[in-house]
Symmetry: C2
Subunit: 224 residues, 2 copies
DNA sequence: TAGATTGTTAATCGATTAACAATC
DNA sequence: TAGATTGTTAATCGATTAACAATC
């Protein structure tokens, strides 16, 4: 009832909490305080408590947080307790790499199909999946109740493809194409712009060099 | 002299400006006002002017901004006017996909080498590059003045590999491994955590469904 | 010149951090 | 109970937006 909107800044931090809690859990750590976790994760204890409390009180005064419980709660908040059916659109290098990137499966993101328009690719096997032609996309999406699409097509066809995906009923798009998609409300888009990341890295590299001198010289300063 | 530090929020927006300005430029648009650009990019004109002014006055009152000039200025700010030598560490699916992803080259990011520890991969050709064994990494990095490394090794070896890269003199790492790297000051890291992106997408998908009902039904509402 | 639009200062908004009473 | 640590409110900090004088 009237759940206050959670800011994307908070949401963006959840996967990192989930990862650290997963590690602690595997190490057999049973409980952890926000203070200890803040040291490990290099954030403030205050932020940790604020973040968790957006979703309810997971901790206990004087005790801290139960690692296993918190891990599963955050997983549930992220929707990892449910299975997602996804398709990969674009079977180029990146699409193939992602199809082979098994790790998604164990979080409940099941790759059900891979699509492309290139007749040279259509029919090929990819980790047990046959690459299909885009013509069959609409039928496939409805048939298999696909809710997420991973978009790795060239940027010139990305906008058009996204439109088609939305029409077919896809509700979330992980977009690797280097364009902004314009989707209707209720359809979620998450962009992964690799060249943007590289440019940001380049900026920071240059700024640092400018500020502290370019000398890379061999050996040099041991950093404390 | 005493350049005020630019926030990462601003830096993160620069590649997007660069992209839109590049498009306008290709369309032959000569000048644009912050107002017009704000409509195209769906941000406030105020933010655009603030962002640009962090780096100096690129516009002219009553005229706006010269698209070509601004495009090149932002490129320069991002360090795209200089060439970067980079290596890809890890020649698995993702590493190979990135090596084949030519687009980096045209922005001055030159893939000079691909490395792996797997003897089955070492020696193979990848777009004109031979996959090399990690043993030769240090020599290669120094020889070719590599400043950026793209890290696509499994997470268990990522931290160790990053340490090695830093020792060899690499100044920036684009990290695809699903761990946080702990590098000394002056070494830049940019993380691309694909599963984090997918989890964020999943969160937003679930939140929306919860808030507005799960009904996906065929056909449904035409969005205005 | 008059109109347009920037550069920049001031106001607002939101996110992070600090503080502390509640409570296990 | 005393000590620890949360949940939560208040204070601070930073980023975004609004406003407008400067100026092309």
């Amino acid at each position: 009832m009237g759940e206050k909107e959670i800011s994307q800044a908070v949401v963006a931090r959840l996967p990192r909490y989930f990862r650290y809690l997963g590690e602690l859990r595997e190490q057999g750590v049973e409980r952890i305080s926000s203070g200890d976790l803040s040291v490990i994760m290099n954030v403030t204890a205050s932020q940790i408590r604020q973040d968790f409390n957006h979703f309810g009180g997971f901790g206990q005064q004087g005790y801290g947080y139960n690692v296993d419980f918190l891990y599963h709660e955050i997983g549930r908040i992220l929707g990892l307790d449910e299975e997602h059916q996804l398709v990969i659109i674009g079977a180029g290098n990146l699409g193939q790499a992602l199809a082979n990137y098994m790790n998604f499966e164990k979080r409940g993101f099941l790759v059900k199909g891979v699509f492309d328009v290139n007749p040279k690719l259509v029919g090929r096997q990819l980790r047990g999946l046959e690459i299909m032609h885009m013509d069959g996309l609409e039928h496939f999406i409805k048939m298999h109740k696909i809710d997420i699409a991973v978009l790795t097509v060239p940027k010139d066809s990305a906008i058009e493809t996204a439109k088609l995906l939305v029409l077919c009923g896809v509700k979330a798009i992980l977009n690797f194409a280097h364009v902004d998609l314009n989707v209707p409300e209720g359809v979620q888009v998450e962009n992964v712009h690799l060249s943007d990341s590289l440019m940001k890295l380049s900026y920071n590299l240059h700024r640092y060099e400018e500020a502290f001198g370019k000398k890379t010289s061999g050996g040099g300063g041991k950093e404390g």
